[in-house]
Every structure is written in C-alpha cells, then in structure tokens.
C-alpha cells in the first residue's frame, strides 16, 4: 500500500471570516436576525438585519456602495445593496422589493426570522476623495437604495462636504421610498429634488423627468469640472441620459460613479452570472466610474 495517496484537507480548522483568501469562507454565512420590518411602499420594505454575535457584529465593516448576500435556507440567496450607514456596522438596513422567489418570501416573514449574511462584497464610492467637493446624488426608482448609504455617511460628516444635491425620480408618489426621512435630510442642508412620472390629483410636488431636475441644477453652476462628484443609480435609460448631461456639463468621467445591477449566484467572482462582457460586477463593481462603464460593452 506504499503508493496509496494521502487525502489532503485544504481547510484550516478555524476559518477566518475576515480573510477573503480563506477557502473556508466560501460558504460561510454570519448568523443574523431580522429585527424589524418597516413597509416603505406596497412593494418595498426596509429590513433591519442584525448579525447575532456581538463580536462579529462589531467587526463587520463595509463601505457605502457595497452589497451583502442574504440567505434563507431552502428558499435562496441573493445580493442586496446595503442602505444603512457604515457606522452601524453589522446592524444593517436592506431595502428589498418583493419581486422574485426569495424577496417574495421575505415579504411574508416576521420579525425574529433568522437569516445568513455574507460579505460585504464589491467596490464602493470613494467618499474620502469626495470630501471638500460638491456632491450630486441622482437616483431613479430603486436606484435610491444604494445611494442612501453614501448619503448617510455624508450626513454624519456634513461639514466635510460642500453642497449636496439629491435628485430622485419615481414613477408615482406612491412609489417614493424613504419619504419619512426627507425632512431630516433637508435639515442637514441637503437640496432634495423629487419628481414623479405620473401623479395623482393631490400630489403637490413636481411631475416630469429627472433630467429636468438635473438641468435646473446645472444652470446654477458654470462647470462641474473642478469641484463636483456625482453618483448615479437607476434604470439603464436614465444612466444613458444623465451621464451624457453630466459629461457635457464638464464632469470628468473619473468623478462620476454608477452602481450596476446584475444577476448573481455567488458574489465571489465564480458563477459568472453577473459578468458584463467578462468583468465581474460582484468583484470589479457594483460601483464603477463612468470611464470603466464606457469601456465595458453592454454595461448601460
């Protein structure tokens, strides 16, 4: 039996959930609990999800723009943008629309449900570089969800940033997300512009395209070249028009960031489902600067 090959075990006895190169991390999920569920609209709810172990919760750190994979055993696993402030660490907020298998199930669960969280994954918005600059946050529909984390991070250090504008468009007033926070955002000296495509009779706000809001903002400044950063997130058609307008207003491509959505099955650069061309949205994104997006075929 001299030539019997030994069976090699590749896993360490104690995996380190904070070292991405640890093979034991691949299927490792942090036990977490849904601590509250707040309905935002008929379709979307805001879930407070807390990593159960206090030590793991405090060690969990992410940067605005990153996402987590949320797993419910036997139902599925899917990627979700983190909507909460990074200072809250492993006490996360995820805004989720009931649209697929897992999310429709989540729409029916109750407070106290145990879920698995892995991550954070992906790239983030360069908030340090943005300090000292004006910021444009432009979101369409669910696109406001990944914008909320960088917005909250800005609010925590409001004096470090210049003028901050949020331009947010939704299909109808009933679909507007985070309405309960608009007054609070305004109190932090944020210019909040909201527009809807179609309005009911009692809608006091504005109706029209988000590009009209942006046009008004651009008329107040001569050029965006020197002092502005922009974050854009929304449906492909919005990216197309908004990014074009910002470019024409002088905003350099490296100062314009987008967050892209794709199907994902692993979040770890293995399943290829999120590939754009052959760039992994989960590893090289979801946050891309506009230069990278221009370089990717079929990105927006």
């Amino acid at each position: 039996m001299q030539n019997k090959l030994p069976l090699l075990d590749i896993l360490d006895s104690s995996p380190d959930p904070h070292r991405r190169e640890d093979p034991g991390l691949f299927e490792y999920t942090l036990p977490a609990e849904i601590t509250s569920i707040y309905p935002l609209t008929a379709m979307e709810k805001l879930y407070q999800i807390q990593i159960v172990d206090p030590d793991q919760r405090n060690r969990f750190s992410f940067r605005p723009g990153q996402f987590v994979m949320l797993e419910l055993p036997g139902i599925g696993e899917a990627p979700f943008s983190i909507s909460s402030s990074p200072v809250r660490r492993g006490d996360l907020e995820l805004c989720i629309r009931a649209v697929g298998n897992l999310t429709n199930f989540l729409a029916r669960v109750e407070r106290g449900t145990k879920v698995g969280i892995s991550g954070p994954f992906g790239t983030s918005f360069p908030l340090e570089k943005m300090q000292g600059h004006d910021i444009l946050l432009i979101g369409g529909g669910l696109g406001i969800v990944p914008l909320r984390s960088p917005l909250l991070a800005v609010l925590e250090n409001r004096s470090k940033y210049g003028r901050v504008d949020i331009m947010y468009g939704a299909k109808s007033p009933a679909e507007l997300l985070f309405t309960y926070q608009y007054e609070e955002w305004r109190r932090f000296d944020i210019n909040l512009g909201i527009t809807v495509d179609h309005a009911e009779t009692n809608w006091q706000g504005r109706t029209g395209l988000i590009t009209e809001l942006l046009q008004e903002r651009l008329q107040q400044t001569t050029s965006l070249r020197e002092n502005t950063y922009a974050i854009v997130c929304g449906p492909p058609v919005m990216f197309h028009f908004v990014c074009k307008m910002l470019t024409e207003a002088g905003l350099p491509m490296q100062k314009m960031f987008v967050s892209l959505e794709r199907r994902m099955h692993c979040g770890r650069g293995k399943c290829c489902r999120c590939n754009i061309g052959s760039t992994y949205t989960c590893l090289d994104g979801p946050v891309f600067d506009y230069w990278s997006v221009m370089n990717l075929k079929e990105a927006i």
Partner: protein
C-alpha cells in the same frame, strides 16, 4: 524537470502500482453514427479497460473536479432558526491515468479563476489538490486547434507526462510522488538518441494540425467587431442549448438553487453547471434580461473566453480541444466563428 525513459511493457506495472487508489482513465464507449469510436473518462479498475490510444473523450475531465451538480451545503431547520453544514465532497484522492495536454492545460486555466483568485472555491480546490495526473501524448485530430491556443503541450499541472517514442515512453516528472513511483519500475536515464527522437516527434506533431485560429490581436478585434453582422449570423444558427458549455473543459459558470424538504426540517443548496447560452443566464428578478437574444449570448461566450479572461489572466479560456464544435448541433465551431468575426469568411 527530470526525465526518464521506460519500455512500454512497464506501463502495466505502473498502473498496478497506482491501482491501490481510485483511478480514472479513458475508455471506449460504443461508436458514433459514422462508426468512429466514442471515448469518455470513467473510473477504471483494470488496465485492459483503458483505451490509451484514444483520440478525444466526448466530455472533458472537469466533472471530476467540478461536478455538473453538487450539494454545497445542507441545513437543519428548527423552530428557533437553522444550522448550516458544509461538506466539500472530497472523499478520496483520484489518479488520472492518461490525460492529454489540452485537458491538463484546461485544469491549469480553471485553477487561475477558481483556486488562485480572491475567494478561492474550496469545492474545486479540495478535489484538485487530491489529483494525481499522468499525462499522455496525443495525435492531432481534425477538430484540434490547441496549437493556436498554445496548449498543445503542458509544462505544469501534472505529476508525470508520457510521450510515446515507439517502443518506449519518454517521461517528464514533476512531483516527488511520480519520481518515487518510477523508481519502482524499470527505468533508464534518457540517452541523447532519446532526446533527439523526442524533439523530432514533437516537431513532427506540430506539422500535423489541420485546423488553426488566428489569435493575434484578438482582444482588440473582438472590441472592434462588437457590432459585427457575424454575431447575428451565428446567433441565428445557435439553438441556445448549452451543449458547448457542457463538453467544454474550461466552462465553469454555474447557478445555485435551494430546496426544502416537505417536512420543513431540512434544506439543501445545490450548485449546477449553467451555460451562458441558456436564455435565463442574465435574467434578473422582475423579468429584465440583459442578454435576451441568442446572438448576444453567443457573443458573450466568445468575449468571456477570448477577451475578458485574457485581460484578467493573460491567456484565453480555451484550450482548442474542439469538443464544443464537435458536439454542436448547429455545427458552430470556434475557428469558423473567429475567422468570420475577423472578416475572413
């Protein structure tokens, strides 16, 4: 690298020494409609079962490191929550007896993305680390374009590689285990005559390829020809069946599904090989499909293999084995697709 030569009769003895392990090798499995023999890799226990003069197996060896379906984890559910159990499904070391250079190179390419990258895949890594690979020289078949892809010979990723010199084998040794094995059979140091013969035969082999692909500047050409009509032509022919990814030794894209038992006490998570040509590959919840046409999906497959992978790892994700073209129900072959995108058809 250390070289040895041994007489062909000694190969059975080498097999016998390795047979204490579970062994996989090429076997003949019937004929195709033209009477040509069909081969596949299977677990073998008898030396006589091995078809070492095989041309090419229908399926690649990838299923032994990347099973088509695999349970990633199981869950025990209880009223207060659940527990997750992870099993890498690595049960025993595996000896591969008679792998051609293209398939060895395919595993080397899979290593780049699955083992040597951020978030290594432990299910793959565990099986890959427990392989002993005995490579075997081959003869170019009409569909082979491995020479164009630089994968007609293997320089690493095996334990032992044997080249047929006529009456004897020329052995390249890459591991201590392989060296130890050869010390148990009758082996000699290669003579200068053996060296000359080895060089002559490999040189002769390189002249026998009948299919080639022009890969020069291919990453740029693919960008230049992104809107080429050629993609529509092939997209029209493509049946979006995913057979190409099934037989490909380097296709690794997958999907994950979870199942729950009817008693609600147990659940499982299964990974299954997917294909970027299947219609739901890039479809997201809510119904939007980022690649709804078969032409964009087929184009993406070439983009991933010949552009993106090159950008990430400086080599294409294709070894030129030609299995995809041979298996394609619509007769789509990479040499023809690439030539047409280059405008040479």
């Amino acid at each position: 690298m250390i070289f040895k030569v041994f007489k062909k009769e000694e190969l059975a003895r080498l097999h016998e020494l390795l047979a204490v392990n579970i062994m996989v090798g090429p076997v003949a499995r019937g004929n195709d409609r033209n009477g040509k023999p069909l081969y596949d890799f299977e677990v073998v226990s008898d030396f006589a079962e091995l078809a070492l003069d095989y041309t090419q197996t229908v399926h690649s060896p990838k299923r032994f490191v990347l099973p088509y379906r695999e349970t990633l984890s199981t869950f025990t559910l209880n009223p207060n929550g659940w527990e997750k159990q992870v099993d890498l499904n690595v049960r025993h070391p595996l000896v591969f007896f008679g792998m051609h250079a293209c398939d060895i190179n395919a595993l080397n390419k899979l290593d780049l993305v699955l083992a040597k990258s951020t978030y290594p895949n432990p299910y793959y890594l565990g099986k890959r680390k427990n392989l002993f690979i005995l490579g075997l020289s081959c003869n170019p078949e009409p569909q082979c374009f491995c020479r164009s892809m630089g994968t007609d010979s293997a320089s690493h990723g095996f334990d032992l590689f044997l080249t047929d010199l006529g009456g004897k084998y020329f052995a390249e040794i890459l591991s201590a285990t392989a060296f130890d094995l050869l010390s148990q059979i009758s082996c000699q140091e290669p003579s200068s005559k053996d060296h000359t013969l080895y060089k002559h035969l490999t040189n002769e082999k390189s002249k026998r390829y009948t299919t080639s692909v022009d890969t020069s500047d291919l990453t740029k050409i693919l960008d230049l020809e992104f809107a080429s009509k050629a993609w529509d032509y092939w997209g029209e022919k493509c049946l979006s069946c995913g057979t190409c990814a099934n037989v490909c030794p380097t296709c690794y894209c997958y999907g994950v599904e979870e199942q729950i038992d009817l008693d609600l006490r147990h659940a499982g998570k299964t990974r299954s090989l997917h294909s970027c040509n299947l219609i739901d590959f890039a479809k997201v919840a809510g119904g939007h499909n980022f690649r709804p046409e078969s032409a964009t999906r087929l184009k993406y497959r070439y983009y991933h293999k010949h552009r993106g992978f090159v950008e990430a790892f400086e080599e294409p994700l294709c070894v030129g084995c030609g299995r995809c073209g041979a298996a394609c129900l619509a007769d789509i072959t990479p040499p023809e697709v690439i030539a047409s995108v280059r405008g040479k058809m």
